[in-house]
């Protein structure tokens, strides 16, 4: 018996190897050079051998048991007092806020990008994680925020502080215009419509040369501190920030300032989402995600509830866009491709779809990781793709188990 099973396993492994070779052979082995080709069979053969061995090894691992032991167990209800949570939060925020005072310019800019993605992740988390609506065009709202700032500055002289609420409002309005007709429909359609919407925004930004500057992009001004600029010498007779406070001029001050404001925005967003989840509207989001028909039969208006989630997420995306434009000083359509949407989705999925801690951690991880793995930069997208598939297979609800707001009877 044992012998025949071993033979079966070896045959299955060989079969997997052969299939892998047929699949990757032509694409990896025959490289197109003009109208000709160059054959090189080492990489497909290596890959096929690897698949063969992996199949043989995996045959001895009880995959099903691993998958099922994790996926559907109820989340642990560990109890931490609110004081502990608040103390931990304050400690983390203070630590994060002290970063600009010792880190180099390079790490500050890496952290700014990471925090922008945290903000994007938090926004999409409301839509995908809490309300269960798959939005593949989230980058569209990000673009609305960024271009809203750049265009507002160009045509109406809008400043950074004015752009923050305007950007949020505009992105939310776009979310409402898009969401209202679409949200009545079946969930899968929403994914494709939002994907189309994201592309429409990008194509318009790219093609409407007169207004958006097309592929050349637009300038966006850096933020100011109560009207004091972070430049060596202020424009038009103003006083630069460093002279007001008797500091030496340093270009790093601007980045540190953007970082601190952004950190404040992230903290406010996290707090707001934490509160929202305990409010009726937040509970309605999660209830709709779990069972739409039951909710509707209990009298919840699914369109307005979904719309509120959609608009809330879009506004946060818009704010992230304003920060992005202000930090880069420049916006162009290249920054708003579908890949950005997929990246933010990967952040939410990896973080556990709904879990705030998870989203923050995975955003930091996914944006910081490429900085440490510079030599593997080409493989970044490949790694994202595999991470998305494998995490879905292993834990369809994401890596960090979400803890629901929990009200139980005392003493139970």
């Amino acid at each position: 018996m044992a012998k025949t099973r071993l033979i079966q396993r070896i045959l299955a492994a060989l079969g997997a190897g052969i299939i892998a070779f047929i699949l990757v052979g032509p694409i990896m082995g025959l490289k197109i050079e003009g109208y000709d080709f160059v054959a090189n069979w080492t990489s497909p053969l290596t890959l096929a051998a690897f698949v063969c061995i992996a199949r043989l090894v995996l045959g001895y691992v009880p995959l099903d048991r691993i998958r099922h032991s994790h996926s559907d167990t109820a989340p642990r209800q560990t109890k931490r007092s609110p004081v502990q949570v608040a103390a931990l939060g304050v400690l983390l925020v203070v630590l994060a806020a002290s970063l600009p005072f010792f880190a180099s310019k390079y790490w500050i800019s890496v952290s700014i990008i990471a925090l922008i993605y945290v903000l994007l992740g938090l926004g999409l988390n409301i839509v995908v994680g809490l309300a269960g609506l798959l939005d593949l065009g989230f980058v569209g709202f990000y673009a609305v925020g960024a271009y809203g700032y750049a265009l507002g500055f160009k045509y109406f002289g809008l400043g950074f502080w004015g752009a923050l609420p305007t950007g949020a409002l505009m992105a939310g309005l776009f979310g409402a215009i898009l969401g209202f007709p679409v949200l009545r429909m079946h969930g899968d359609y929403l994914a494709i419509v939002t994907l189309g919407f994201g592309e429409i925004i990008r194509l318009i930004l790219n093609n409407w040369l007169d207004v958006t500057g097309g592929p050349n992009g637009l300038d966006a001004p850096p933020p100011t501190f109560f009207g004091w600029e972070f430049k060596r010498a202020a424009t038009q007779g103003g006083v630069p920030f460093h002279e007001v406070f008797n500091l030496d001029y340093s270009p790093q001050v601007l980045d540190s300032f953007v970082y601190l404001v952004l950190l404040a925005a992230v903290v406010i967003t996290i707090y707001a989402v934490m509160r929202l989840r305990r409010m009726p509207v937040g509970r309605a989001w999660e209830a709709l995600r779990e069972d739409e028909i039951a909710c509707r039969s209990l009298g919840l208006n699914h369109v307005t509830i979904k719309l509120s989630a959609f608009m809330m997420g879009a506004s946060i995306g818009g704010v992230a866009g304003v920060f992005f434009a202000a930090y880069q000083g420049f916006v162009s359509p290249v920054s708003f491709s579908f890949f950005e949407s997929a990246l933010v989705l990967a952040i939410v999925v990896l973080g556990g779809m709904g879990s705030l801690t998870g989203v923050v951690l995975s955003a930091l991880f996914l944006t910081m990781m490429p900085e440490f793995l510079r030599e593997f930069a080409d493989y970044r997208i490949l790694v994202f793709g595999f991470a998305m598939v494998l995490i879905m297979l292993w834990k369809p609800r994401g890596l960090v188990q979400m803890r629901r707001p929990y009200f139980g009877l005392r003493g139970n």
């Binding site: 047929i22 269960g132 189309g196 080409d378 493989y379 997208i381 793709g385 598939v389």
Partner: protein, 305 residues
Amino acid sequence: MDFYVLGQQLVNGLVLGATYGLVAVGYTMVYGIIGMINFAHGEIYMLSAYLTAIGVSVLSYWGFGSPWALIALTLLFAMAITSLYGVVIERLAYRPLRGSNRLAPLISAIGVSLILQNYVQLSQGARNQGVPTLIDGALRFGDQEHFFQITYMQVVIIVVAFISMLGLNLIVRYTTLGRACRAVQQDREMAQILGIHADRIIAAVFAMGAAMAAVAGVLITLNYGSFDFFVGFITGIKAFTAAVLGGIGSLPGAMLGGVLLGLAESLFSGFVNSDYKDVFAFGLLVAILIFRPSGLLGKPIVEKV
């Protein structure tokens, strides 16, 4: 309105539409049978473009001179490999997620799509690639100065697309496999009770869809001669639009939707603005979903509790 320009745009639109229809068939069949949007389907089209270039250059290297033999063998080669891709993707990335929450397979499909794009880019380079022109010449209508033309390659596209769609329709309608497909689509559990191996049927549906996308990929690549690793994305969305336009889940609907979308897009870029033709196609998708989500030939979706 110039009659000859109109004629030319109609011809171009028909050719484009036929290929959209072929790709749309894959979306509609998969959606019909497991209710999932196979987001990675566009990448199958992209793979077949690369397989075309590889097939043509390898076959010419082996000494096949006749363009007809080249086209036929490349078609078979691309269809065989891509259907295997379809089956393997379904087996590894979608099947384990059946019965899981609704978003999981869609997210997994996006992951597959990113993997395929990056894998092709890494192995073949990010540059634009090309294939040689195999068939020259055209049928011309009109006089020396005012005319519109159908190239022989366009004729080949329309004929091959028509034959493939007819063949697929015959398979689905009259063979045992086709009957089993329809049975699984209507009621998977009941079909299983009656002895149909549902997993195999679903795999077969993925294979057929991928093969149809490969037909479109080979034909379009031979016609335009140039492609890169990103072509799957835009074609995928447009084909999905075509599937929704015709009524998702309906096979004739996908073909009709493809042709209509191709014509609409071609007329729009000919007479209005070619920069915004993609915006027009996406806008059309949004409009259909708002005003007639069940499409032209589809049945309205009834939610069962």
